[in-house]
């Protein structure tokens, strides 16, 4: 009997919570279901802080079409079922724009978002073939796919060798699981097409032991290294490279390399290191400056100041500039209130949008949900990141072949 009463009490409490949460006002809400406590914490605090700061800025300027915006940040601990819980809960509260910034959770939420008609933003994570808008109606991985990013890295190397890659040797160092394996196919295709030699160097997770990998790299002497690793693994790699006398200039990282990693490698030791990116790094971008004067100098920042100096803060600003810009477009197109359909239409009218010089210009169309996939290569000069290329998106035909081949499997 005691058990019964307890159960009843628990359920009535749950019922109360539900009833309470359904009486909110009508701002434009974005569901930010992030992993703030487990695997993705190298980036999520900065990105979510940027999202909240940007929402404050937008609200200070009168919101979107006169309505306020709200970002609802929740932790899902990188567990698919908690991500689904977050998604289900918020979508019943009327949220129709979601972002998970976690590949496992994005994968798990995707079938539901597709069935329910909710917009799933999944910049930089999740399945890359979702850029194919003809298959993935409701998914917008705006920004580069890993395939596109790797292809752009190859294009950069080709530039360095004046267009002739026949005697170039490229090493690909990657985490040996889907995140790192993804670019292999495209690199192999490009290696055949351009005639460069490709060597693969899988790194076992979690990347804390790379001794064997780098002594093999030393023997093989590749001219360039494209590196698909995260966080601390970059630091381990840099140590092994010093030990094996491999120049840092060969290192071209995926976009997941930030100022914290640079500080851990050592500002001097990292000179020459390169990374592909779709946002401008460093604290000097116009939007961040505006946030500084409008919010942080008034003491209203959503988090510590030093986090805003990180490149992932800029990444967050870029992601949410797109989210809010699309809402603005939606209001222009179909007026208030914004609905999932009008928001989708808003997203698909974004043309050469670069958030005032913050990121690679994007153009979203009903077919291309990736926005063009432009990136550039930046080099660390000891103090700041120096761009080495323009915003480029090369070998798009090859990339789209891979995208379509993969996305066609989803429909089966």
């Amino acid at each position: 009997m005691k058990k019964l009463n307890k159960t009843l009490a628990a359920f009535s409490m749950i019922g109360g919570l539900v009833a309470g949460s359904q009486t909110l006002a009508e701002p434009f809400k974005v569901g930010v279901c992030y992993d703030l406590s487990k695997a993705y914490t190298f980036a999520t605090p900065q990105v979510s802080q940027a999202a909240m700061d940007l929402a404050k800025l937008v609200n200070m300027k009168g919101g979107i079409g006169g309505e306020p915006v709200e970002v609802i940040v929740r932790d899902h601990g990188n567990e698919p079922q908690r991500g689904i819980e977050c998604y289900s809960k918020l979508s019943r509260e009327g949220v129709f724009v979601f972002d998970t910034l976690s590949t496992p959770v994005s994968l798990a939420v995707l079938p539901r978002a597709m069935a329910d008609g909710r917009v799933l933003m999944q910049s930089l994570v999740g399945r890359g073939d979702a850029v194919d808008g003809t298959v993935f109606d409701w998914v917008y991985p705006i920004g580069p796919t890993y395939w596109g990013q790797a292809a752009n890295d190859v294009a950069y190397i080709k530039q360095l060798h004046d267009g002739d890659m026949s005697d170039v040797k490229v090493g690909f160092v990657y985490f040996d699981y889907p995140f790192g394996q993804e670019p292999i196919e495209i690199l192999q295709t490009l290696s055949e097409k351009e005639g460069f030699e490709l060597d693969l160097y899988p790194v076992p997770l979690p990347g804390s032991d790379q001794a064997g990998v780098w002594s093999k790299v030393r023997r093989d002497k590749p001219d360039h290294l494209i590196v698909w690793m995260l966080g601390g693994a970059h630091v381990v790699a840099s140590k092994e490279m010093q030990r094996n006398r491999i120049s840092m200039e060969k290192y071209i990282s995926v976009n997941w390399l930030n100022e914290v990693d640079i500080a851990n490698i050592g500002k001097e030791a990292a000179i020459g290191l390169k990374r592909g990116t779709n946002v401008v790094g460093g604290p000097d971008v116009a939007l961040r400056q505006e946030i500084m004067t409008e919010i942080y100098e008034k003491g209203q920042g959503s988090g510590p100041l030093e986090k805003t100096e990180d490149v992932f803060y800029n990444t967050g600003l870029a992601m949410y500039s797109i989210v809010f810009e699309a809402a603005r477009k939606a209001v222009e197109l179909e007026g208030l209130p914004i609905t999932a359909t009008s928001y989708k239409a808003g997203l698909e009218t974004l043309k050469d949008y670069d958030a005032n010089g913050l990121m690679a210009p994007i153009t979203v169309t009903p077919d291309d949900h990736g926005g063009g996939g432009k990136t550039r290569i930046e080099m660390w000069d000891g103090e700041a990141w120096v761009p080495q290329t323009d915003w480029i998106a090369e070998y798009t035909d090859v990339v789209w072949d891979v995208v379509r081949e993969s996305s066609s499997k989803y429909e089966q």
């Binding site: 929740r74 932790d75 079922q81 019943r92 798990a108 995707l110 699981y177 959503s302 089966q412």
Partner: protein, 357 residues
């Protein structure tokens, strides 16, 4: 006073082999069963498909692990890998055009075969050594999944599950999914309830307590260990397949990673080894409490108008949840199931036990 009997005493063999030794337990089980049947009409759909459904499927899975760990006493750290085998085989079978009823059984059987391989390890090594061997199996499975696109599907090793259909009926509604999960969980629960009073159950317990002593009594520990692993793997396989078919809709290696294996083991240990109601409670604690605490902390800080950093906000529930596990295991090392038993036993003799003091 609260129960009509003052302790559990058996006067004959029939009463000893009853499923429920205390009538109130049976009434509670009936009440929970009826509540489960009526849940789609009582609960909002959010609670139905984000809490109840995963709870039931994970409970079925945890009961399977309880069979091998709680009853047969074999520590198993590769349970999620066995679930993955079931999930992937069933989905591949269903994609190939096999009806779901058979696809689920194929998933279960495939798991049984792979899971029985663990049993061969269990015959050679025991305790912590077995734990490490099964952990190694988990890593092997992870590696196979991430390195063979033919098994794991296309982009990011994710495999789309076809629409679930049982008995010629397409299942697409929240209620439908829920009843499938409920049905499976009830089946597993009935099996486990009956296991206790069969020769098989007693043999497993004998093997758990001391396998060579069991051998002296004429219990073939080789046979029963394999049987335990095969049966529990079958449950794992079908549960894994149903988890994907009714909840994730898409299988990915992360859903069956080593972290998940440890989580299921935690469910069983916190719930109580060899306890059925304990498995239900343990799953609720490990699976649902983090999300609930998260919601309560977030809601609480919002309504109190506190400006807490989102990161701190994400870590408080983790700390609370961790503390909860520690406190529960300190109060009752035998888990939540035993805690329930303690409360029941106390109430059964109250207030007469007070006279003795």
């Amino acid at each position: 006073m609260f129960y009509r009997l003052s302790g559990v005493h058996h006067a004959n063999y029939v009463s000893d082999s009853r499923i429920f030794k205390v009538p109130a337990d049976r009434n509670l089980a009936i009440f929970i069963f009826l509540f489960g049947l009526a849940a789609p009409f009582l609960l909002p759909s959010l609670y139905l498909n984000s809490y109840m459904l995963p709870w039931l499927i994970w409970t079925a899975a945890a009961l399977g692990l309880n069979l091998v760990t709680g009853w047969a006493g074999q520590l198993h750290l590769g349970y999620a890998a066995v679930m993955a085998v079931g999930a992937y085989s069933a989905i591949h079978a269903a994609r190939f055009g096999v009806p779901w009823e058979f696809a689920l059984i194929i998933g279960g059987l495939a798991s049984s075969v792979i899971g029985s391989l663990f049993a061969f390890a269990a015959l050679r090594v025991k305790g912590l050594y077995l734990a490490l061997t099964t952990l190694a199996m988990q890593f092997v499975m992870d590696w196979v999944l991430t390195h063979s696109p033919a098994i794991s599907g296309g982009s990011h090793a994710s495999l789309q599950s076809p629409t679930l259909a049982l008995l010629g009926q397409d299942i697409t509604s929240d209620t439908g999914y829920y009843y499938v999960a409920f049905g499976w969980c009830v089946l597993v629960t009935i099996f486990m309830l009956n296991l206790k009073r069969t020769g098989l159950g007693r043999a497993l317990v004998a093997v758990r307590e001391k396998d060579f002593a069991a051998a002296i009594l004429g219990v073939n520990s080789f046979y029963y260990k394999i049987l335990a692993f095969a049966a529990s793997s079958f449950i794992a396989g079908v549960s894994g397949a149903l988890l994907v078919a009714t909840f994730f809709f898409l299988a990915a290696p992360e859903q069956f990673s080593v972290a998940v294996s440890i989580q299921v083991l935690a469910m069983v240990i916190v719930g109580g080894l060899g306890s059925i109601i304990g498995s239900y409670l343990g799953v609720a604690l490990i699976l649902l409490v983090p999300g609930l605490v998260n919601g309560i902390v977030a809601g609480g800080s919002q309504s109190l108008g506190m400006q807490i950093n989102v990161e701190t906000l994400a870590h408080i529930p983790n700390a609370v949840y961790g503390a909860l596990i520690v406190i529960i295991l300190l109060i009752e090392p035998l888990g939540l199931g035993k805690l329930y038993g303690n409360i029941r036993d106390y109430l059964m003799v109250w207030p007469f036990d007070q006279l003795r003091k």
